[in-house]
């Protein structure tokens, strides 16, 4: 392993406070094996006492070469691989990839398929936010929300399991639509879930929103301004919590989103508490979308006419969707053969993680943990 000090060479680090009693700065390694780094993230911290002077993320421990794999598989064969990137929001990944290839093929999924896609993607967003909430609260020391969120996430996973047989890496969509028609009782299941979950969200909020310790631990922690967010390319709830009302579902709509009404929740301060509030409200907005989709789901085919062997015309396309973590983009280049010439994934976690350094400078070590939690990164997606 390389000496951690070499990593910090390029950072313009703040100097420790010069006092009568000089203290030395301390360089410590957080991770890759650490309970609060959500996987195998390694953060090298330069500390003055407990104050963070600078950080450097060392990533790549989970690199599997997804983009290289894509060049050696056909368009259809690569579809399940994308689920392995952001494995807590696999459905969103699949949606992004399928739509990108559909765009390249110049086909459009039938309306019913689009509705099913929206329902499952929004359910997945809910599941992802619930997992985020549980682990984030656990990092800050509140044990109980974890169990509450996992209890309710279970209901979503049950719906996935009944729909396509898998709970986590669902591979729910195919290029051109959906492979499976909804099972019998799907709508009832979703509606039952819609009735059951809002009081549960209230329950999470009861534990945290007005809890003094929670507010003190999160308010003014990991602040990032809207300008910094844009400069650093940070998207998703982090950007919205800084006050930018921007959501790809509204700005550049895809799937069936133009047909639904929902709000884009925003924050004002861009601190950890605002991000928490934004995500909580997003959960409610997701429920609203799902309700509209389930009630208005049209009849019809679920698969567009796509050739068995896909040979998209030569060209390239960039398509992005609003994943739970932010803008998830696919840049697909076709050379006219059955295999994509190049697939580039624009992972939201990877780009958002870059903001960690800006967010934790001058804060305390305990805040680093809170900020890693609030960025909601999934290392499978950061490292690909």
């Amino acid at each position: 392993m390389t000496d951690p000090t070499t990593y910090l060479s390029h950072l313009e680090l703040g100097e420790p406070d010069k006092t009568f009693l000089d203290t030395n700065e301390l360089i410590i390694n957080m991770g890759p094996q650490h309970p609060a780094t959500h996987g195998v993230l390694r953060v090298i911290l330069k500390l003055d006492g407990e104050k963070v002077l600078g950080t450097e993320c060392v990533i790549g421990y989970l690199h599997r070469g997804v983009e290289k794999i894509a060049e050696n598989r056909t368009y259809t064969m690569f579809n399940p691989y994308v689920d392995r990137m952001d494995y807590v929001a696999a459905v969103s990944n699949g949606l992004g990839y399928c739509e990108a290839v559909e765009k390249l093929l110049n086909v459009e999924a039938p309306p019913r398929a689009k509705y099913i896609r929206v329902i499952l993607t929004e359910l997945n967003r809910l599941a992802s936010h619930q997992l985020w909430l549980g682990t984030h609260a656990l990092d800050i020391g509140a044990m109980t929300p974890l169990f509450y969120t996992f209890r309710d996430r279970e209901e979503i996973l049950k719906i996935f399991e009944k729909y396509c047989g898998a709970r986590l890496t669902t591979h729910a969509f195919r290029i051109g639509g959906c492979q499976y028609e909804t099972y019998e009782g799907f709508e009832q299941d979703v509606k039952k879930f819609l009735d059951f979950v809002p009081p549960r969200i209230d329950e999470y909020e009861e534990l945290l929103t007005t809890n003094r310790i929670w507010v003190e631990r999160t308010r003014n922690v990991g602040k990032i301004s809207a300008a910094d967010c844009k400069a650093l390319g940070v998207t998703g709830p982090v950007l919205r919590a800084s006050g930018v009302k921007w959501d790809i579902r509204k700005a550049l709509p895809y799937a069936a989103y133009p047909e639904f009404q929902f709000e884009i929740p925003t924050g004002a301060n861009g601190d950890t508490y605002d991000r928490y509030m934004v995500r909580m409200q997003e959960m409610r907005q997701s429920l609203r979308i799902i309700r509209q989709a389930v009630e208005g789901i049209p009849e019809g085919p679920i698969m567009a006419k796509v050739p068995k062997v896909m040979k998209p015309p030569v060209g390239e396309v960039y398509h992005s969707i609003e994943a739970p973590k932010g803008e998830l983009g696919y840049f697909v280049v076709s050379d006219g053969s059955t295999q994509p010439y190049r697939v580039r994934v624009r992972p939201p976690s990877f780009v958002n993680l870059q903001a960690l350094d800006v967010m934790v400078r001058g804060q305390l070590v305990a805040d680093v943990i809170a900020v890693i939690g609030t960025l909601d990164i999934v290392l499978g997606e950061v490292d690909r």
Binding site: A36, I140, G141, A142, T144, L146, N211, R217, L364, I369
Partner: protein, 416 residues
């Protein structure tokens, strides 16, 4: 010899003061055993209650409803490999858990479970308690240093800084309560634990309600500081596993680690006992001054018996609800036996001489149990404080309020 033993029974004082070594040893053994059992029960209760807070079942396998789980855990811990890190300072590493354990158990010498049910009564009782319990900081510091590793060292520094800071606010709150003992006709206060409860008896008021809300505020300060003092959630920074893995006892395993746990739970019970003694009237039954008279005395003296009978009934309901599969035969029988023991204790508690001697202890333990439950409740509900916020709460909020309350109490005592 027999005279020596029986002579104490007639005396209305603690064995320590009576100078009766035999009974003192008996009391020490009873208290030591009782506290150990309480720690085991607390361990089970914490896992079970926490699990139910978190919509889990908690331990269910070992014994009916996991009742024997703590014993299984203890056996596991005792048989585990005892690891001492290579670079550790062996002697200090070895002695640190013992210091914590001794400090936590020594405190029980002066805790009054009843007017005569204490090992001894020192006239500096409360001072002794604070002093000895402050020694456990040493154990924490030594454990962190001896492990010769970064995370334990940071954990122990945080932990001892926290304990020392909160000791001050805690001491101020205690002084307020002690001041209240002297606010009577004769103007003589006391530091003795039994004396403090007796002062509450004479003044016909729990100090919690004295000079409302002054007594209440000082109690609240103590109740917060004692959670910090025992390093429990939401002040469990030294053990913040998301930052520091396990704090000062990261390198400990097996028996030594269990000694830390034993020390922690013992200390929790000890500080709760201080709170009960100082503010909640110690062994006094509820409403001693409003619900007076022989009838009420009788009614309250029957409550312990009924409590145990109630527990027995719950156990028997549990027996009825056990699955009827032969696999659960032993478990069902065990639970029934447990219920029968509880019921027997309940019936024993109705016998008048036993009843009168025991009910003091019952009320004391019941009040302490409320605090124990609160500890679990806090842990299930609150996130963790950050270190600077913790220090801010200790020094900038609790301490000034505690001093203010102390001054106002003193002024009121002079004026009234």
């Amino acid at each position: 010899m027999l005279d020596y033993i029986t002579s104490y029974l007639g005396m209305n004082t603690t064995p320590g003061q009576a100078g009766n070594v035999f009974w003192a040893v008996v009391y020490i053994l009873v208290v030591f055993g009782g506290v150990s059992v309480a720690v085991i029960a607390m361990n089970w209760l914490e896992r079970k209650a926490l699990a139910h807070f978190q919509i889990r079942l908690g331990p269910m396998r070992v014994g009916p409803h996991g009742l024997l789980q703590p014993i299984a855990d203890a056996v596991k811990l005792l048989t585990k490999e005892d690891i001492i890190p290579h670079e550790a300072d062996r002697f200090v590493f070895w002695i640190a858990p013992l210091i914590i354990l001794c400090a936590s158990f020594t405190v029980y010498i002066v805790i009054p479970f009843g007017p005569t049910h204490a090992i001894t009564d020192l006239n500096i009782g409360i001072l002794f308690m604070l002093g000895v319990s402050s020694l456990s900081v040493l154990g924490v510091v030594m454990a962190g240093w001896a492990s010769n590793s970064h995370y334990p060292l940071i954990g122990s520094l945080r932990s001892s800084a926290q304990m020392i800071s909160y000791e001050i606010a805690m001491g101020m709150a205690v002084v307020t309560a002690i001041l209240m003992t002297s606010l009577n006709k004769s103007g003589t206060g006391t530091l003795s634990m039994i004396g403090i409860v007796q002062a509450q008896q004479q003044q016909q008021i729990w100090f919690l309600f004295k000079f409302f809300p002054l007594g209440f505020i000082s109690f609240a300060i103590f109740a917060i500081a004692m959670v910090a003092e025992t390093n429990r959630a939401p002040f469990d920074l030294p053990e913040a596993e998301s930052e520091l893995t396990a704090g000062f006892h990261t390198e400990y395993s097996g028996l030594r680690w269990s000694l830390f746990m034993l020390g922690e739970y013992t200390a929790m019970i000890a500080v709760s006992s201080i709170a009960v003694t100082l503010w909640l009237g110690g062994w006094l039954r509820p409403f001693p001054n409003t619900l007076t008279g022989e009838t009420w005395d009788l009614v309250f003296s029957l409550i312990p018996g009924f409590t145990f009978l109630g527990l027995a009934v719950i156990a028997f309901i549990g027996v009825k609800r056990m699955p009827k599969h032969p696999y659960f035969k032993i478990q069902t029988a065990g639970l029934a036996g447990f219920g029968a023991v509880l019921g027997l204790i309940g019936i024993l508690l109705f016998i008048p001489p036993v009843r009168d001697r025991i009910q003091d202890i019952f009320w004391f333990v019941a009040k302490v149990a409320v605090f124990m439950y609160l500890y679990i409740w806090y842990r299930a509900t609150f996130p963790r404080y950050r270190f600077d916020q913790l220090m801010k709460v200790g020094w900038k909020v609790l301490l000034p309020i505690a001093i203010g309350v102390l001054i106002v109490t003193a002024i009121l005592g002079v004026v009234l």
